[in-house]
């Protein structure tokens, strides 16, 4: 029983990340009609926002301390981050809380990236076939990840959670669960509810939802749907970026994490039903949990490697049995 609970918990944070990325993918597809293969790269960029902020805060000044010497007899170099020498304890605190701080920084940055991407590239591909959209965003994904590789190198860069939530909580005697994962879960739930509320309760959201149903009609009403869709693209970018920022203490980011998550998120979208926001979210969590179950030792000893392919197997079964996905609308993408 405990083991099951633990696996559910373990799956939730990964599921949260899948859900957040898949949400953006399906939102962009539903509104702009564009398949964005660079969406994973945006998640990765978000993660590297956190890395940059952390690195920035940790910029060190080197002071030679003549009173102490090293084993070689040279004066000892004392390295202190500038921010600590300027702000003292506050500075230390800032460094420790670099991940949540990065969120403040990531929101405008990701929004900017999203808007530039949409205006500078994606908008020219609305009328081109899906194959072209896939190819051009695929190229963009390669470029983004290679740039990150140039700057930050190929190795994963671990980030730490703030000390307040760095430890683990013992839920029962056998279940020890890192605080940060709980934070991530609540964070993703909040973000998801935020997006849903935005779409449901604002007039902007109403227009967007109407546009998802029938773009032409909304256009006929004299509403500039394209400008709204640009903003939708920005929102999707921010959501994926923040998902990336907050994920850094769980998984040390590296340059190719984007594609890894993208492929899985695509599968999530397929399972949930293309164009269905609720489907994307529930399928995200579902597959996250499923994956975590599959990686249990007990399961793996019977079916070795099942954790690597479980998600794909589910996708295959869904496609064969229920082509429109779990919550896809009837008739949408069924051919």
């Amino acid at each position: 029983m405990d083991a099951i609970l633990l696996q559910i918990l373990n799956g939730l944070d990964k599921g949260g990340a899948y859900a957040l990325i898949a949400l953006g993918l399906t939102l962009v597809f539903g509104t702009l009609g564009v398949v964005n293969f660079a969406h994973g790269a945006i998640f990765m960029l978000g993660a590297f926002c956190a890395v940059s902020i952390n690195a920035l805060l940790k910029l060190e000044q080197v002071v030679l301390d003549p009173t102490q010497t090293t084993a070689w007899g040279t004066p000892l170099e004392i390295r202190t981050p500038y921010i600590e020498s300027w702000l003292g304890e506050w500075g230390t605190l800032l460094i420790q809380y670099s991940v949540p701080i990065s969120i403040l920084f990531a929101i405008p940055v990701m929004l900017l990236i999203g808007l530039v991407m949409e205006r500078g590239l994606i908008q020219f591909f609305y009328k081109r076939p899906h194959a072209d959209q896939i190819l051009v965003t695929f190229g963009l994904a390669i470029i983004l990840q290679e740039i990150i590789k140039e700057i930050f190198g190929a190795n994963p860069i671990p980030q730490s959670a703030p000390p307040l939530v760095a430890g683990s909580v013992s839920i029962t005697e056998t279940i020890v669960y890192p605080y940060w994962r709980i934070v991530y879960l609540f964070f993703s739930l909040t973000l998801i509810s935020g997006v849903f509320a935005f779409l449901r309760f604002t007039t902007f959201g109403m227009v967007v939802r109407a546009g998802m149903q029938d773009r032409e009609t909304v256009g006929l009403l004299g509403i500039n749907i394209e400008r709204r869709f640009t903003i939708v693209f920005g929102v999707a970018t921010v959501v994926a970026g923040l998902a990336g920022v907050m994920y850094t203490p769980i998984l040390p980011p590296d340059y190719h994490m984007g594609m890894d998550f993208l492929v899985l998120s695509f599968v999530v979208v397929v399972v949930g039903g293309m164009g269905s926001l609720g489907g994307a979210v529930s399928a995200g969590f579902l597959l996250g949990i499923l994956q975590s179950f599959a990686s249990m030792n007990e399961v793996n000893s019977i079916l070795p490697g099942i954790d690597q392919i479980i998600i794909y197997l589910v996708a295959v079964v869904i496609l064969l049995v229920r082509p429109r996905g779990l919550m896809g609308r009837k008739g949408v993408m069924e051919d």
């Binding site: 398949v35 020219f124 081109r128 076939p129 899906h130 194959a131 072209d132 896939i134 190819l135 051009v136 695929f138 190229g139 963009l140 994904a141 390669i142 470029i143 290679e146 740039i147 140039e150 594609m259 890894d260 492929v263 695509f266 599968v267 979208v269 397929v270 293309m274 070795p304 490697g305 690597q308 392919i309 794909y312 996708a315 295959v316 496609l319 064969l320 082509p323 993408m333 051919d335």
Partner: protein, 404 residues
């Protein structure tokens, strides 16, 4: 009466064969005339030709073709280990296995079209890649990669009385070692055969049916065609081409690693095809050659090479230029690939073949505005169809000749 188009195709094939076989001489001036690189040209040419049979003809964009390449490589190396160092059984096994693999993946993926198909093929390739790295380590030897060992059994070789285990084995074709120039000529001849087969497919009713599917799958249904078996055949043929290419990689260098199946590798063959021109006969080979040539050059560059290259510039400018250019060379080759990818999709959706056709104004060739609408015919092919029709419709009154 029908001879003209056939003669044109044969001329195309003969010219192609001549260029390939004379490759070492022709490519001498651009410094590409050494066997390793030419082998790559030929092998990836085959890979791209196969990809084009799927994408160019049917419009189904597979993002998982590297998986078939990998399967081909692994199968070939296992054939070297268990059966014989001869290339023939390795190639045969690789082609059959990758065909079966394509059958399985195609069975699921081809239930959907468009983006779904792309996503599914990508997912399957990633799954294969993950498996090759983890659970299938006994078969793939994980990260180290699969290689032939002196101690391998090689039952066929033993049966024919070869001295197995005496020395580090090398691949051969009935005694001819498959390295260096013989290796290239072997691959080159396979490439010519692969090209010939693709001409046959392009000109056959099967090929035209595939193009019709690409053009309007809806109409195909109301015309009495069940598209799926045709798509399935194209997918399998295309997978077998990839397996063939993978096995040749192993023939020329008998080791296989999982990185061959990575999504960047799948992306590379897409790029080769669209760069040359999807749906054209020659385009994919051209694209493969260009990509591999520049990969070779760019990867070899480093800062000192760049510095000497830009020596004519003033010190400060040179520094900046070298710094920027440095991003794109050496390890940065993938960045170049990505940039190239976007440039081709945005500015040259018809690929080089279409560009060349427009420049040469050989035939009326409308500007291609997206990759889905590639010119479909090579210079030779289109002329052939028209001339052939001239014969047939000479009786039809008041026929105006198509503008040309």
């Amino acid at each position: 009466m029908f001879g003209i188009s056939k003669i044109n195709d044969i001329m195309l094939l003969v010219a192609f064969a001549a260029i390939i076989l004379a490759g070492p001489i022709i490519l001498e001036p651009i410094g590409a005339s050494y066997p390793d690189l030419l082998q790559k040209f030929a092998i990836f040419g085959i890979f791209a030709i196969g990809f084009n049979i799927l994408f160019g003809l049917t419009g189904y964009l597979s993002f998982g073709h590297a998986a078939f390449l990998g399967v081909g490589s692994y199968a070939a190396v296992w054939s070297f280990k268990l059966l014989s160092m001869n290339a023939i059984p390795a190639i045969a096994i690789a082609v059959v296995l990758s065909g079966l693999f394509a059958l399985a993946i195609g069975y699921v993926s081809l239930r959907r079209a468009g983006i779904y198909f792309s996503i599914l093929t990508l997912a399957f390739a990633q799954m294969s890649y993950n498996l090759a790295y983890s659970v299938l380590t006994p078969i793939t030897n994980g990260e180290t990669g699969l290689r032939v060992l002196r101690t391998d059994p090689r039952y066929l070789d033993v049966m024919f009385g070869a001295d197995v285990g005496a020395a580090q084995p090398t691949t051969n074709f009935f005694g001819i070692e498959m390295t260096g120039w013989p290796g290239f000529y072997f691959c080159g001849i396979v490439l010519i055969a692969a090209f010939a087969f693709s001409i046959v497919i392009f000109r056959s009713p099967f090929g035209m049916t595939l193009r019709a599917i690409k053009s309007n799958q809806n109409r195909m249904g109301y015309t009495g065609f069940n598209s799926r078996p045709y798509l399935m055949s194209a997918f399998i043929i295309s997978g077998m081409y990839a397996g063939l290419a993978g096995s040749l990689l192993a023939v020329t260098d008998p080791l296989a690693g999982a990185e061959r199946m990575q999504w960047t590798a799948s992306g590379e063959v897409v790029l080769m095809t669209i760069l040359g021109g999807a749906g054209t006969l020659l385009g994919p080979v051209l694209g493969a050659g260009i990509i591999k040539y520049f990969e070779n050059i760019f990867s070899a560059f480093n800062e000192s090479v760049l510095n000497s290259l830009f020596e004519f510039m003033p010190e400060d400018v040179r520094h900046v230029v070298v710094e920027v250019a440095g991003l794109f060379v050496g390890d940065g080759w993938h960045l170049t690939l990505g940039v190239l990818f976007m440039i081709v999709v945005i500015f040259l959706p018809g690929g080089l073949m279409e560009g060349a056709m427009r420049v040469l104004r050989i035939k009326h060739s409308p500007k291609v505005t997206n990759i889905g609408k590639s010119p479909q015919r090579d210079i030779v092919g289109e002329g052939a169809i028209e001339e052939n029709l001239d014969d047939r419709v000479r009786t039809a009154p008041a026929r105006s000749k198509p503008t040309g």
